[in-house]
């Protein structure tokens, strides 16, 4: 369909698509921020076992991880203004970006909450006991001893979260936001060179995720420099150097088993 394949178009599409990279990254950044805040708010009641809030957190987690992001996008975009009307908030003029970042943020928050809880709980209990025994307050023990170590543990999972979010943003065009995928579709329709735009699009996503992954790997190195570098875990089969057991687990643990 469309015009015959012409590889030259792939290259000429690249700069055009990069024009909208900013929008994509804006969504990622905004959603990450929102998500981490939401994640903390949701994780805390579960970590400290606060009665009512803990159940509410559970429902939040179940919902946002139990429904597809696409449905969530539509739900919030169409539904939120309606729900808030009786309360007197008029969101009908709110920019689309607001709904987009809000929804992606809440969605990411659900995964972030689990990441936060798991990494904090992974810090050896003895560390906390030593902190308490030395007379530190719970706040001091958390901020100076637990959190720094939890951060290092969380990075592989965080890395997957970020990359999953990046890929999820490709759905934002359904709400009319002109991010990269939306731009690619427009270019395709305009020039009838569909496959070329999508190849270019895939290429850009690849580069971005690769870069993000490398940056976060460097961050992980920095945050865990106090650890001995693990030797490759003995496995039945010889594995390539990349991918220790931990990173493979983290890859999957982020909960995103596949697509949207």
């Amino acid at each position: 369909m469309g015009a015959p394949f012409d590889i030259g178009y792939v290259f000429s599409f690249l700069p055009k698509l990069l024009d909208t990279l900013g929008v994509t990254l804006l969504i990622v950044a905004g959603s990450l921020l929102t998500g981490i805040v939401a994640g903390f708010l949701v994780a805390l009641p579960r970590m400290y076992k606060i009665p009512v809030l803990r159940t509410l957190s559970g429902v939040y987690l179940s919902f946002f991880r139990g429904t597809p992001i696409l449905i969530q996008l539509f739900l919030f975009y169409y539904g939120l203004p309606e729900i808030l009307k009786p309360v007197g908030l008029d969101l009908t003029r709110a920019p689309v970006m607001f709904f987009v970042i809000l929804t992606y943020g809440l969605h990411t928050g659900a995964y972030a909450a689990e990441m936060i809880r798991a990494s904090v709980e992974a810090v050896d209990r003895g560390q906390v006991e030593a902190a308490y025994a030395a007379g530190m307050t719970p706040y001091q023990a958390f901020s100076r001893i637990v959190l720094p170590q939890a951060l290092g543990i969380a990075v592989p999972v965080f890395s997957n979260l970020v990359i999953a979010l990046l890929k999820d943003t490709s759905l934002a065009f359904t709400l009319g936001v002109m991010e990269m995928t939306g731009k690619a579709q427009t270019l395709g329709t305009l020039t009838q060179h569909f496959i070329e735009t999508y190849i270019a699009l895939a290429f850009i996503y690849l580069i971005i995720s690769f870069t993000l992954e490398k940056m976060l790997l460097a961050a992980e190195r920095r945050l865990t420099r106090h650890e001995n570098r693990e030797e490759k875990r003995e496995s039945i089969f010889r594995l390539k150097k990349r991918g220790s057991y931990r990173t493979v687990l983290a890859d999957i643990h982020a909960g995103k088993g596949g697509g949207a």
Partner: protein, 236 residues
Amino acid sequence: MQLDPSFIWTAFWQLLGAIPTTLSITAVSVLAGFVIGAVTAMLRMYRAPVLAQIASAYVTFIRGTPMLTHLLIIYFGLPMIIDGLAEHFGWSFRSVSIPMIGFAYISFSITAGAYMSEVVRAGILAVDRGQVEAAQSVGMTTFQSLRRIVFPQALAAALPNLANSVIGMLHGSTLAFAVSVVDINAKAQIVASTNWKFFEAYLAAALIFWGLTVLIERVAALIEKRVGAYNRGGVA
């Protein structure tokens, strides 16, 4: 525009008809994806000469790009390839005869395959090397030790991740609307726009997905209990 709670119920019934479509897309992509993933994982772990690199490239590509992009590339690219080959070889088959859902099946299977590859890899890694040594020391062949010792344990270890992957593909199936397949999501869009009740329709869709997800989680937990009974090392 008033909220019409009763319509949620109505919408729910109208969406029911689309559930089989969603489920079939999920099932096909998970099953085909598992096969692709298992083969890919094996190729990489055994370092088959050229194929391992291709497998790795495949996994890297899929995991670094959005599922929607895969769908679009297959949707626009596959016909080109098929028609090109058909011209060349003189087949009577043309891509036009591929039903829309076929593109969803193919694309999603390819996507699932890459993620499944990691699931399989982690499952096998989780089995202690000592197990294989023990199997070999009683005289089992490689194949026997794989089949009787490694795979059962790998399966038990991989179950939670498998469940996550199934759920991931269930959610991913909503992308099928982009190729005009009427899954739950597409149906919700139709119901919403024909009745001008967007929130209610999408809420119904969300609830259906939520229900299906919880169902899958429960089933997985049950299976895990039975299959992984020997391993109470984790949180019992």
